[in-house]
Symmetry: C2
Subunit: 495 residues, 2 copies
């Protein structure tokens, strides 16, 4: 899957991601050969420039920046980038592209881990970052409607005064459109659910350039097919999400966070399993292995004990929080947990959670120049200890640097293999380990991806997990809604 | 929409629902004329009998019983009924029907309120009530897999010993397949969500007779299109749901239920709004108007004060339950709530909630021979008081008997118009009131159906709510997955 067949030195319009693998290497299997790419014609580029002016760019640097993401994958950049500022902008761009059956690829902040943003078949990148307005807050209904480019942190900043918050927090400060498109979650999902549960409605531009609305602001509905949830997690392949209506939650009266170290990953995971089975409404329950703790200590100047750790948070009334914490502390003690430490002030809590959110980037920095192959399996909670234990044994035996962070309350964890991109054998090793981990998770009734999506990287795993028949059904839906296959083609599955 | 164009006296194979409107009246608009119905041929009936033996019936009484539901709608009965006992049975029946492009209509317990079970285009009723096994309980993961014919009460009886329960409870003891197909909810949804949030995976027989599995037992997943949620709420129009994997919850350590009477519906609703906005994790919050209280008093021999009432339940630790209840009691007092009475024993609680679940049937009995036109709007919580107040004013002005029960914590309520089926003007009046109520709910950012589904009755409302473009997109999905239009055709929309 590595490298390039295209000679970029003779094609100044194409360039590899800076720091990526060597040039002139074979074209990655997910990238269509030049002859099959649906490249925008000069006439289309002219029409886009006539419509969008300065907001349409074909500059190489701009295209390169929009043709990559946080995945370790590479592809030639898109043919142009269009900054959209309204639903009508998106609709017009899609219609122009549709005329030539040229792909369109929505772009938020570029934090995908699975290659969602790569122009593997050519096409136009639609940058939605300027669609960054909070359109309406209804505190009395605990709902908000935002444009797709609003990021999760921006949203929480803008609604803080209402006493409400939006809990879903992937590692990056991702856009809410991107989070919807990948069915993202994060550290709070164990209590508040994922984007699946928290998106009430969407505005979507379809493959024909029509602006549609799905869902309502009502908490529940049985009105026809659940188009909202069909779009959530569709990774831009069925339409461009331009607006999102979300559920909000009252900021809890009391919040307390705690860390607890364990003699082994297994002990930390078994504590988690028991807490979930007891029905404790824990708000966050995150695992960091010793490698991840070491990385965040260095990056965020913390002094956490460099051993497997649970980082937990409790939300509720003061009495409720105290009660939850006491239960968890008792369970942890039974599993050898020690040094149950409290972060009582907002500042301490923020520092800890910021460190947790930095874990991925901290770990990257622990091996200079490395890239990360990230796994994202999620299994039923009772299978979690087995799934992690066996996977750790394998990576230890392989001798590859790694770290683990996990939303273990959900049964979801990320094993990050830190590879040197200049050593193909390391990537192959990481991919082989990931493959065994995914097969294990599926055997244990789990999924190959808890929150990152399929993208380019997990298409084969999707077939293993869902079966060829279910994937064929997905393809039928795609073909019905996007007959020209222009909406972020080549992601989730190929046609 | 009333009555019949077919003369049943000359066609013993067709008969109206017992007690239904007059014969020889016009054919309801949702029913295809005889010439267009896709009636099973004698050859198909022979093949079905050869495959299913005694489990295939063409007896009139059997067909009539399967050709109606709890809606006030009527249609000629299906051409045959097949009792399926396995996925393979369903697949074989679908394949045989598909050969002749004859419709198949899944049947659970027959408790639909929206005409889902009516054979409006002819076809075969697939009775799944014998698919009633709990296939696997995984208490350690809080999951269970059941066949589609298992009812919610049966499930809770069979898993009681595990210390877990399944919270979704529509009024009827519905089948879990039917509850999935209509995206049902009930009294616990305010805390535990609806079928949308609680179905983890499905087994589905597609229109081509293929047996597919969607989802996994993992709590979350980003693996491709959310086929599970596409099927949940699809009302049998995309496939036959044969198995359901569900989330379970620990039985709460402490449970307490309370009733509280209010000087007006408005006061009760305003109490609810404030409780939700405060973030109290109330487990149930049900409104009964004075008419509904009167009906359940009579039916269940209770002595509740015949005034608007909230019936609430709190789940949690003993301290947590006490804290929630104290908060709610204080809010209720501010709105004139009085007689806050506790049901402390399991028996008292069960009696109250059984009465609540009997409200629909109790109200039906309050006007002998009547049928009920039931509304199902759901609005954002802040709009609920306005939506109910204006709708009550209208029905009071119209002079039609009615009652209200509502899952008001979700913004969902049912106004039941009790009509004499022999007086067409009453049905017309009820339909006109319903229409105004639905339009009001949609204007208030709500939905025409919170939990009953679209069925036959709300197809026009769906277009008003979702827009013609979104409904066209639903149709595209339907046509892609069911090209012969054999899966419960004529429901949700017509093609």
């Amino acid at each position: 899957m590595l490298g390039w067949r295209v000679d970029f030195r003779t094609d100044p319009g194409r360039g590899p991601r800076p720091g990526a693998a060597a040039m002139n290497a074979p074209l990655p299997s997910h990238v269509l050969p030049e002859a099959l790419r649906r490249t925008a014609s000069p006439a289309l580029l002219e029409r886009l420039k006539a419509r969008f002016g300065e907001r349409c760019s074909t500059a190489l640097a701009v295209r390169q920046q929009h043709g990559r993401d946080e995945s370790p994958l590479d592809a030639p950049p898109p043919d142009a980038v269009v900054w959209c500022e309204s639903n009508e902008d998106v609709a017009d761009a899609v219609r122009l592209a549709a005329d030539e059956a040229v792909p369109v690829i929505p772009f938020g902040v570029g934090s995908s881990l699975e290659g969602h943003l790569l122009a593997v078949q050519g096409g136009i990148s639609l940058d939605l970052s300027r669609m960054n307005r909070v359109l309406a807050v209804q505190p009395e209904d605990l709902t908000v409607t935002v444009q797709a480019g609003v990021t999760r942190k921006q949203l929480n900043d803008e609604i803080r005064h209402t006493g409400l918050f939006f809990p879903i927090d992937p590692g990056a400060d991702a856009s809410l459109g991107g989070m919807s498109a990948t069915r993202a979650s994060g550290t709070n999902a164990v209590r508040y659910g994922t984007m699946r549960e928290n998106v009430l409605g969407l505005t979507v531009v379809t493959a024909s350039g029509e602006v549609l609305h799905t869902g309502t602001r009502a908490r529940k509905s049985s009105a026809g097919y659940d188009l909202t949830r069909l779009m959530v997690g569709s990774e831009g392949t069925l339409g461009v999400i331009t607006e999102v209506t979300l559920r909000l939650y009252p900021q809890p009266e009391a919040v307390s966070a705690a860390t607890c170290s364990f003699p082994s990953i297994d002990a930390a995971v078994r504590t988690t399993i028991e807490v979930i089975q007891l029905g404790v409404p824990i708000a966050r329950c995150e695992l960091l292995d010793a490698n991840a703790v070491r990385a965040v200590n260095r990056h965020d100047r913390l002094a956490l004990k460099e051993a497997p750790m649970l980082l937990m948070e409790f939300h509720g009334s003061p009495a409720g929080v105290a009660e939850q914490a006491a239960t968890v502390q008792a369970v942890a003690a039974e599993h050898g947990g020690e040094g149950f430490e409290w972060a009582t002030t907002t500042e301490e809590r923020t520092r800890l959670w910021t460190a947790r959110h930095h874990a991925y980037f901290s770990a990257l920095q622990s091996r200079p120049g490395c890239r990360c192959v990230t796994t994202d399996t999620c299994v039923p909670i009772s299978r979690l200890a087995q799934c992690i234990d066996e996977s750790v044994a394998e990576v230890e035996a392989a001798g590859l640097p790694y770290f683990i962070v996990g939303h273990v309350g959900d049964g979801n964890f990320h094993l990050g293999y830190l590879i040197d991109p200049a050593i193909p054998a390391e990537r192959e090793q990481a991919e082989a380990l990931n493959q065994r981990l995914v097969e294990r998770a599926i055997r244990l009734d789990g999924t190959c991806t808890g929150e990152h999506g399929i993208g380019l990287h997990k298409m084969d795993f999707l077939v293993t997990e869902a079966g060829a028949g279910a994937v064929a059904l997905m393809r039928s839906v795609k073909q019905a809604l996007d007959p020209k296959n222009i909406m972020n083609p080549g992601k989730i599955f190929t046609l």
